[in-house]
Symmetry: C2
Subunit: 420 residues, 2 copies
């Protein structure tokens, strides 16, 4: 397939690479063969799908999101973390023992990810194997790629929301056998305080033996950091606690938040190649704090972005890009200009190529990359002959799901699947 | 007229007042006669407009916005304040010497305010009298209420963007003669560094003699605060500089930003009844800082909200409400919980009744208040029998212009006016 449009991506974070009315050639396996200013002679007989003056951008990667919290989007954000969990989040997650309820909410969740142009995600499900399998099947049906994590948790949470290390590990091993190109399981201990040392050890052993990836939460707020220090007295820091269980980069690892990461924990993240998943909307909504992302990038830590729905209040990665920049600008203001803020192209890179790296060659238009793309019609924003540089800026700050005309994942166009 | 819907407003900031399927009776003069759970017998013969299960909320008040920067929405937010002004903002404002250009942009601006449900605003125009009159006329034509300010500036800015105290005051006096119920002029010295002491004195004298209101910028960022201190050595603080010119509450006054206001300046704000217009999207985008709004409210200072387009990147007050809460939660996190954050109802109050007070009895559904209202169809968000408390929360966090079915200002329904 050959597509023609205004092609915009971030092969490097420093700037947008922009090709006016360029061509992307996609092989049968969904990988990009090449990107061209004018079409080489060898392709003259191949039909071209022309998207006119639309923008063609990489689809987004949401690297931290809780699917079972979807019904609670926008709710209870006046509450502090603990009542938010106990009155709203845990009771909602309990409902996913009911597979019919799970189907109703998960269908809407996957539909909205599609709508917002998020073609890949790393998802927390619940402790419920049947509902988690269903969520994986819905991604597969939609043609979207995801790491879907059954949550493992066996302490400091309601009885109805606990499983055992045995339950969780059996599930992970089964799901690993059934994984597809698009949808794979991911080891998902909720966070240190919700998992006994035995559970964490067993999951760490499974990571080592299977190579399965890991996702969890790290240093989200100060009370949590102090709590973990009291639980894991031999660990040098919160991150080291995961590390001692083999859950910190021994296999590909996503750690959400890291608002209070520095020193030894930062070095461990970097040396172990762990991804920080920055969730600025969530960190603002839950009054967690401001993760020092510019500092992480300067130190060579890998960073991706996540909505963290429903602590994050919106499923669009455009919003997360905006907040990531704004939070880094508040750091800049508070440091009186000492720490430079994220640029738009850097934040876009985090939401596409940087997060996409967790899936392989994803998130950019370069030879060998999977063709994950959004066709954006920004004509209502482009009423005054804006340059393409300005059009991508305006789309990121002003655009929404209405503007996306076509969505591609792994080279295939994904049509809307009705959610009910 | 009688309207039936789920009526939601904030007579006091502490909580939403919610009336399921209630009635609002509006007099011929556009004022609310009463709000009822069930319709009194005296109205049985009056026809009722039934909005079914929709939400009926007060329309929004945007108390700080730069109309001529509308074309630059979403642009150049990687730039710091000075290059942002010099490379983008000032050159754009210069274009408003061309009345045809002004009409094209101002029509779109007024149309989008309408679209976003902002029925009242306090607007900065440019130095150009003809374009400023046109903007006022467009508000009048649309039926929307606004304070429209010709900007006065005569130093520290490009030559093409200066006027004289004489120019500005003549314009203000003329416009004052022509003011209507809906659209009125407002004295708009850009800010202290852009106006000579003579200009500020003359505008202050005009305020005193005419009673016209005032709007300007205050303590937006630290360099600016230091600059003003060096320009106005006899003033005890930036706010006192305005005060000495009679531009600080001697007539109704809006001061945008106040990120670095405390001590004497805060006392002056409170004692003089000056409104702080909090613009959290702008303060984040321009790396200005985080205005301590909870502190202002605790101290009895009046607070309204503004988009500050185009330093703010979006014209919707829903977004500003979200950011106001989030910024106050970041204060909360940084104070380790000492300063409580804004609740949703408080932030909604700031965007409706608190800002509305600048226009008189506006921004709530109470007897004697002008009927400024939005009819919101949130049915796509209400797929699981949410309570009305949760529906208003979800609409504020998740809704957008698509959801607004009807818009009322001053008792009249305002239909869409095409912008081209």
């Amino acid at each position: 397939m050959i597509y023609r449009a205004n092609i915009i991506c971030t092969p490097t974070p420093e700037r947008f690479k922009i090709l006016e009315h360029g061509y992307v050639v996609v092989n049968d396996d969904g990988r990009i063969q090449g990107v061209y200013e004018s079409l080489p002679d060898s392709f003259v007989s191949t039909p071209v799908t022309d998207f006119g003056d639309c923008l063609l951008i990489p689809a987004f990667c949401d690297m931290h999101v809780h699917a079972p919290q979807y019904r609670n989007l926008g709710l209870a954000l006046d509450e502090e973390l603990l009542p938010w969990l106990q009155k709203y989040t845990f009771p909602e997650e309990m409902k996913f023992s009911d597979i019919r309820y799970a189907e109703r909410i998960y269908r809407r969740f996957v539909h909205e990810l599609w709508m917002q142009g998020t073609m890949r995600s790393a998802v927390f499900a619940t402790i419920h194997p049947q509902a988690t399998d269903l969520l994986a099947a819905l991604f597969e049906e939609a043609g979207m790629s995801a790491y879907v994590g059954l949550v493992a948790m066996n302490r400091n949470c309601p009885d109805q929301l606990t499983n055992t290390a045995e339950d969780a590990c059996t599930y992970y091993q089964d799901a690993f056998q059934r994984q597809t190109d698009l949808v794979k399981p991911i080891l998902t201990p909720r966070f240190i305080p919700a998992c006994t040392p035995d559970m964490l050890s067993r999951i760490g052993q499974l990571a080592a033996s299977s190579g399965m990836p890991v996702q969890s939460h790290l240093s989200e707020n100060l009370s949590e950091v102090e709590w973990v220090q009291s639980l894991e007295v031999e660990a040098s820091c919160y991150g080291d606690a995961y590390n001692r269980y083999g859950l910190f980069g021994q296999t590909p690892t996503l750690m959400a938040h890291c608002c209070y990461t520095d020193g030894e924990e930062l070095r461990l993240l970097r040396d172990n190649g762990v991804f920080v998943v920055h969730c600025p909307t969530s960190n603002s909504n839950l009054a967690s704090g401001m993760a020092p992302i510019r500092h992480f990038l300067n130190e060579g830590v890998k960073v991706a972005l996540g909505t963290d729905v429903s602590a994050g209040h919106y499923l669009s990665m455009l919003r997360v890009i905006q907040y990531a920049i704004q939070i880094s600008k508040l750091h800049y203001a508070q440091s009186r200009g000492k720490v430079k803020y994220l640029s738009l192209s850097e934040a876009f890179y985090l939401a596409t190529k940087s997060g996409g790296a967790f899936f392989g060659k994803v998130g950019s238009f370069e030879p060998g990359y999977m063709f994950d793309a959004l066709v954006v019609d920004d004509s209502y924003l482009n009423y005054d002959n804006y340059s393409l540089e300005h059009r991508i800026e305006r789309y990121i700050y002003l655009g929404d799901d209405r503007d996306i005309r076509h969505r591609f994942c792994n080279g295939k166009e994904l049509k809307e699947i009705c959610y009910e």
